[in-house]
C-alpha cells in the first residue's frame, strides 16, 4: 500500500516537513489533523506526487515513486480537493468520465460506471447533465468524490474536502462518505483541522505540529493520554462538548 520512509520537505531554508515515516493501514481511514502550516497538506501532496520530497522515499504497492512512474500510480489513487476542483468546461458526467474516456473505455461502460457512482454518492437525478457552475457546493463535492472513485482506485486521498460546506450539507456528506469508504474497503487518507470530523472518520488519527508527527493513534487515546502539552492544547481548543484532554503526566 502507501508507505513513507524518512520523507522531508524544505522550501529554501524553511523545513516544512521534518523527516517522517508512516505506513498506511490497508482498508482503513487515516486522518491527518493539525493547525494551518503544520505540514498535513504537504504530506498528502507528497503522497500523490504534487510535491517532490527533498529527501526520503514514497512507496506505492512496494514500488518506489519516481517522476517516471508517478503518472501510472496516480491512476490507482483518487484525490479530492476542497470544492471538487471540477473542470468548468465539462458537464458533471464529462468530469467524472474524463479519465476513463481518455483511457479508451467504451461509452456504455463509462456511462454505467458514472451512474453507479451517482447512486453510491446519492447525487440527485439530472445533476449529471449540468455544468459545475449550475450545481451546489455539496453536489460539486459529491462529483469530486465520484471522479476520484471512477477508476476504482485502492487509495483515496482527501484534502479538507468539506472545508467549504455549510454544516447541514457537511453532516449529510460526512455520513454518506463514511458509509462509502467502509463498504468499499478503501484505504483512505483525509486531511482536516476539525477534531470532530477526525474522530468521525479516523480509524487512526495522526496529529501534526511544526512539520512533524506529534501523536498517532485513536482519538480516544489522544484525549486520555496526550503526548505533549501541544496535544492537550490542540484538543481543548476545539471546544468539543464533554471532551477535555488531560494534562500531560509529569513522568
Amino acid at each position: 500500500m502507501l508507505e513513507l520512509i524518512e520523507v522531508s520537505k524544505s522550501f529554501g531554508q524553511t523545513q516544512v516537513l521534518k523527516p517522517t515515516s508512516l505506513v498506511l493501514e490497508p482498508g482503513k481511514t487515516t486522518v491527518f489533523i493539525g493547525p494551518s502550516g503544520c505540514g498535513k497538506s504537504t504530506l498528502l501532496r507528497i503522497m500523490i506526487g504534487l510535491i517532490e520530497p527533498s529527501a526520503g522515499t514514497v512507496k506505492f504497492d512496494g514500488v518506489e515513486m519516481t517522476p517516471r512512474n508517478i503518472m501510472q500510480m496516480r491512476r490507482k489513487m483518487g484525490y479530492v480537493i476542497q470544492d471538487g476542483g471540477l473542470f468548468p468546461h465539462l458537464s458533471a458526467r464529462g468530469n467524472v468520465g474524463l479519465m476513463a474516456r481518455y483511457l479508451g473505455w467504451e461509452k456504455q461502460r463509462v456511462n454505467a460506471r458514472v451512474e453507479e457512482l451517482a447512486r453510491l454518492t446519492r447525487l440527485p437525478d439530472g445533476a449529471l447533465e449540468r455544468y459545475p457552475s449550475q450545481l451546489s457546493g455539496g453536489q460539486r463535492q459529491r462529483l469530486g468524490i465520484m471522479r476520484a472513485l471512477m477508476l476504482d482506485p485502492s487509495v483515496i486521498l482527501l484534502d479538507e474536502p468539506m472545508g467549504a460546506l455549510d454544516p447541514l450539507v457537511r453532516y449529510d456528506l460526512q455520513e454518506d462518505l463514511r458509509g462509502i469508504f467502509q463498504s468499499l474497503k478503501k484505504t483512505v487518507v483525509l486531511v482536516t483541522h476539525d477534531m470532530g470530523e477526525a474522530g468521525f472518520f479516523g480509524d487512526t488519527v495522526v496529529l501534526l505540529g511544526g512539520g512533524e508527527i506529534v501523536q498517532q493513534g485513536t482519538l480516544d487515546e489522544m484525549i486520555r493520554f496526550p503526548a505533549s502539552d501541544y496535544v492537550t492544547r490542540f484538543i481543548n481548543a476545539q471546544r468539543l462538548p464533554g471532551v477535555e484532554a488531560k494534562e500531560v503526566a509529569a513522568s
Binding site: 484525490y79 468548468p88 468546461h89 474524463l98
Partner: protein, 516 residues
Amino acid sequence: MKSTSPISHLPAATLLFLVVATTAIADSPDLPLVRIGSKSSIENVILGEMLTLLADQAGGDARHQSALGGTQIVFAALKKGDIDAYIEYTGTLSQEILKGQRVRSDEDIRAALAKMNLAMSQPLGFNNTYALGMKADVAEKMQIASISDLAKAMKAANGSKLKFGFSDEFLKRGDGWPAVKVLYQFENQPTGLDHSLAYRGLDAGTLHVTDLYSTDPEIAKYKLKVLEDDLACFPEYHAVILYRADLKDRAPQVLENLLKLEGKIDNSTMMEMNTRVRIDHDRDINVAGDFLLSKLQIKTDSSEEKKWVVIGRDFVRNTTRHLLLVFCSLSAAIVVAVPLGIWAYKYSKVTHGILGIVGIIQTIPSMAVLVFMVPLLGLGEKPAIMALFLYSLLPIVRNTYAGLKEIPDNLKESAIVLGLSRQARLYLVELPIASRSILSGIKTAAVINVGTATIGGLIGAGGYGEPILTGIRLADVSLLLQGAIPAALLAVVVQGLFELLERLVVPKGLRLARAE
C-alpha cells in the same frame, strides 16, 4: 486600371471567384511586360499614368502600380525588379537615395545608378523644387521678381512690413530657410505654420511670403508669383524617368516611347496638370492622356468608363483583395501565435523572450515594416501579408498565454492528479478552459487586421487602402469613403462572426459560468 481591362465585362460575381485566376488571364505572353510604379503624390501618379499609356501604346503589356508610398519603397521595388520604371527627381536621387556617395552632377548619378543596373532619362523639363512665393499683385506693386529683390525690399523702410510664414519642414531643413537666410542675408524671423493655412493667410493679406513647391497647383489657384531663385540657393529637383537598364533590350520600343517625354513638360504645364487633378477632380489618366495627345500628338487608349461600373468593379476587387490579405495573414498568425503562447506558458525560461519580441514587433511603425519587407518580398500581397501577420502575433500570443496562465491552480492540479499526461492536460483541460481568451485574442487581431490592411494600398497589394489613399491624395472625400466605409463595416462583420464562432468553439460550461 489597364491590367484588369480584359475581364472588365465579366459579371461582378464571377470576378469574385476568379480573382486568383485574374493574374494568369491578364498575362499576355507575346507582349513584353512593363510595370510602371509611382510615388503617392498627385504629380507622380499623373506621370505614372502617362508612362503607362506610352508603354501600352508602344506595344507593351503595361501595368501601373500606382501610389506606392514613399521614395524608399518605390526605389526598392525598382531595384528588386518589381517595377521597371518610375518618375524620380534629381534632387531626391542625390540628397536621399544616393546620399553618402558624393554625387555632384547628373553624370555622377548615372554612374552610381549604372552600378545597380539602373538608368535615368534626360530631365522631363520641370524643376519641382522649393520656392518662395507671394501674391502676384503685391509682388508687382513692390517690383519683386526674385528672392534678391525681396531681400532688398526687406531692407527698405516700407518692405519690413512683409510677414513670412513657412512650413515647419522648410524652416528646419538645411536646404530650406536656413540656407536662404544666409545666402540672401535675411534678418527677419518667419513664423511656422501649416501649408493650407499659409495660402489662406496670403489671400487674406495677413501673410506675404511663404514656401512652395514650384509645381503646386495652388500657385495658379491663389494667383501667386514664384520668386526667381537668382542665386541658385535651392537644390534642383528635375523630374526624370528612372528605369531598369534591361528595359532597353527587353522592350526597346517601349523605352523609346517613354523617353519622348524628355524636355516636354515645363513647370507651368506640370502645374496645370496638377491643378486639373487636385482642384478640378479630373481623373489622372485623362489628364495624362490629354497631355500626350496635345503635346506629343500621341493618341492613347484612355477611354472613359461609366462611373458606377468603375466603382462597382473597384469595390469587388478591393473587397476581395482586402479579405485575402486579412484571411492569409490571420490564418498564418493563428498557426504560429497559439503554439508560441503555449510555449511561453509551459517554459518559463522563454516566457519573457517570446512576449518581449512580439511586443517589440507591435511597436514598429507599419511604414518601417514595409520599407524593410519590400526589398525582400517585392511589391504586392506578400509584404502586406507579412506585415499584417507580424501585427497579429501579439494579441494572439498574449491571450493564449494569459488564458492558460489564469486557469486556477486547483484545476491544473486536478488534471495532474487524475493521471493525465502533459499533452492530454493541455488538450483536454487547459486549452478548452483558455479557449475564450484565445478566441478573443484572435478576434482582436482580426479587427485590428481589417483596419491595418489598408496599408496594402501603399505597396500595390490592393484592398480598401487603395481608395482611401487615393482619396486622401486627391482630397476626394467620396473616394475616401469608398474605402473607409466598407473597411469599417467589415470590422463590424468580423466582430459579429467571432461572436457566432464563440458559440461553436467555447464550451457551453464556460459560457454558463460567465453568465452567472
